[in-house]
């Protein structure tokens, strides 16, 4: 399989349904060979965006460029796109080989040459011996592999994945994620996937595009988006976050001081000083929980009440309550030496974290 990695550019892609705006001026540059995941809750416009790239939905506005040339008005069957659907969408009346050869037949490729390519594609997804079976005789994972072979055999300019592993159970989904990633890397095929599963986006994507209400909320590598969420929505949607509301109260050294209710003070490393109120996001894994040895004198620490400690194998989840009544969640890794730090519910504990873990986020 020899795909030429294509550069894809979306420019102000927009879709209205009557008065409702499904996608609002989505602009994005996708590098050749890159895997981009559109992530967001249902109704955020991610699926509509993908279907516009595939032209299964006609855009209301904006343009799609592949290698610099606009394909916005090229009909779907001339776009050279490979697409995977959540429901696999294999043709039930055709065998595995007939499914895979379908796209080659549509391109008028001679039977003998097409047959070789089908064989090659099925070997690629490790289904070499299943040519003559019907889709209904295969498991869900095998069916999606056939769909992948069918999409790849036409050597598409880009691959579009619509919740491709959503119908598989958890362990199979995880192994398919790794496999899909390896294959995509090896073929170097530009790929756009849609998912509502953040683990899937983190595992598979070079870059994650978080969408909300038809708009692009944040774009970045998985680590960037996870560690430096730009907005309260991203911090809450991708992983778990604690949030603090406070007022900016000058600077202390290199950091901005934010005062919250009940004497809780936070310091955030920031170059410019925002004025007025501020929202700060804090990942639970950054919070250390321990016995109260002394009264907290400084910022980024608080005495809270332990409500519940949930043992989760390699992690313990601590559910704390701040003096003001707000919840605080802390994840702590178990050391592996067999000792679980035991703390009784109802007891006061000291929660503290580093200044560098506080993130100023936009709250809108």
């Amino acid at each position: 399989m020899h795909t030429q990695p294509a550069a894809v550019r979306l420019a102000d892609l927009t879709k209205h349904y009557g008065k409702a705006v499904a996608v609002d001026r989505l602009s994005l540059n996708i590098e050749p060979g890159e895997l981009v995941a559109l992530l967001g809750p249902s109704g955020c416009g991610k699926t509509t965006s993908l279907r516009m790239i595939a032209v299964l939905v006609q855009p209301s506005g904006g343009e799609i460029f592949v290698n610099g040339a606009s394909i916005t008005r090229v009909p779907v069957h001339k776009r050279n796109i490979g697409m995977l659907f959540q429901s696999y969408a294999l043709f039930p009346h055709l065998t595995v080989a007939e499914n895979v050869i379908f796209g080659l037949e549509m391109r008028g490729i001679k039977r003998r040459a097409a047959g070789l390519r089908v064989q090659e594609a099925l070997d690629l997804v490790q289904l070499g011996g299943h040519q003559h079976k019907l889709p209904s005789q295969l498991s869900g994972g095998q069916q999606q592999r056939v769909a992948l072979a069918r999409a790849l055999v036409i050597e598409p300019a880009m691959l579009l994945l619509d919740e491709p592993l959503g119908a598989l159970d958890k362990s199979l989904r995880e192994s398919m994620q790794v496999e899909l990633r390896l294959l995509q890397r090896r073929l170097g095929i530009t790929t756009v996937m849609v998912t509502h599963d953040q683990d899937e986006a983190l595992t598979l994507a070079d870059r994650i595009v978080v969408m909300r209400d038809g708009r692009l909320e944040q774009v970045g590598s998985p680590a960037e988006v996870y560690q430096y969420p730009a907005t309260r929505f991203v911090a809450g949607f991708l992983g778990v976050s604690n949030f603090f509301q406070g007022t900016v109260d000058g600077r202390t050294g290199e950091a901005v001081l934010v005062r919250c209710s009940n004497d809780l003070q936070l310091t955030v490393p920031a170059a410019s000083v925002p004025s007025g109120s501020a929202t700060i996001a804090l990942r639970p894994e950054a919070v250390r929980v321990g016995p109260v040895g002394r009264v907290p004198p400084g910022p980024n620490m608080v005495v809270a009440t332990l409500e519940q400690a949930v043992y989760r194998g390699f992690m313990v989840h601590y559910y704390l309550r701040l003096p003001g009544g707000e919840p605080l969640i802390a994840f702590q890794q178990n050391s592996g030496n067999g000792v679980v730090v035991g703390m009784d519910p109802g007891q006061p504990v000291l929660a503290e974290w580093d200044e560098g873990s506080n993130r100023l986020v936009r709250d809108e």
């Binding site: 069957h77 294999l90 039930p92 769909a147």
Partner: protein, 266 residues
């Protein structure tokens, strides 16, 4: 099993049995009369003879009525499929403006009294000066049979998976090839069921044909009616039995070919 459910089952079996009797009994009576060795229809039949079959099959009037009805039903079915299939496809797959109204209009021959439809068509054709009886009959039969195609095909299309069509489109299939290679195989049972309904409805249509037929173009139901009101010998029963046999054969063949049971929701 408590008393109530025994009563319920008893009722169910009684109603089913009664239904079967009322459907099957007339057919059985007709079949038994067709081999009766008597000059006139009388019940119970006496003796056994296949002479009536020989007489009927050699009757040139029967032959011409049968061939005319087969011709008419075949072309009416073809017409109903050619018109009904795209209509159903457009109504189900595309947001046609006024789609609901168009659907009601297309299905209206099912609800409208067929006798009135026939009379209306007769007046229309004579107003237009269209004198060709076979063509007029064909138009009328297509009109009354196409709703069956629209209905069964619509139902199959609604059940068919649209993502299969989308997958075919992304793989490079044009709309027409997508329809032929992906959609049609999925809705084949519905198409066959619609075609079967259309054929049968045309084949034994009386209320429309009676207005439009003439002596040279004599469909089977009119032939049977004239025979029954004229000399009432067992040959009428023989003709009927032959038609029952024909219907059973057609249904069995279609079931073998496309799984009619599935299409009719059985």
């Amino acid at each position: 099993m408590n008393g109530r459910s025994i009563a319920t089952s008893a009722m169910l079996y009684t109603v089913t049995a009664a239904t079967l009797v009322f459907i099957a009994a007339p057919l059985l009576v007709t079949m038994s009369l067709s081999v009766s060795d008597t000059q006139f229809v009388s019940f119970p039949p006496r003796g056994f003879t296949l002479a009536w079959y020989g007489k009927v099959l050699r009757d040139p009037d029967f032959q011409s009525a049968l061939s005319f009805s087969l011709w008419l039903a075949s072309f009416a079915t073809f017409g109903a499929l050619v018109l009904g299939l795209p209509a159903a496809f457009a109504l189900v797959r595309f947001p046609v403006p006024g789609g609901a109204a168009i659907r009601s209009l297309l299905l209206s021959p099912l609800i409208f009294p067929v006798l009135v439809t026939g009379l209306g068509l007769l007046q229309l054709f004579s107003m237009l000066g269209w004198g060709s009886v076979p063509v007029n009959l064909l138009i009328a039969h297509i009109l009354v049979t196409s709703p069956y195609v629209v209905r069964t095909v619509s139902a199959s299309l609604m059940l068919a998976d649209i993502t299969l069509e989308e997958a075919a489109r992304t793989l490079g299939a044009s709309r027409w090839r997508t329809f032929r290679r992906v959609t049609l195989p999925q809705i084949a049972p519905g198409v066959a069921a619609g075609g079967l309904f259309a054929f049968m409805v045309s084949f034994d249509n009386y209320p429309v044909s009676m207005w439009l037929a003439d002596a040279q173009n004599d469909p089977m139901p009119m032939f049977i009616y004239r025979k029954a009101t004229g000399v009432f010998d067992p040959s009428v029963a023989t003709v009927s039995t032959l038609l029952i046999g024909l219907a059973i054969v057609v249904v069995l063949i279609l079931d073998r070919l496309v799984g009619l049971r599935r299409a009719m929701g059985m």
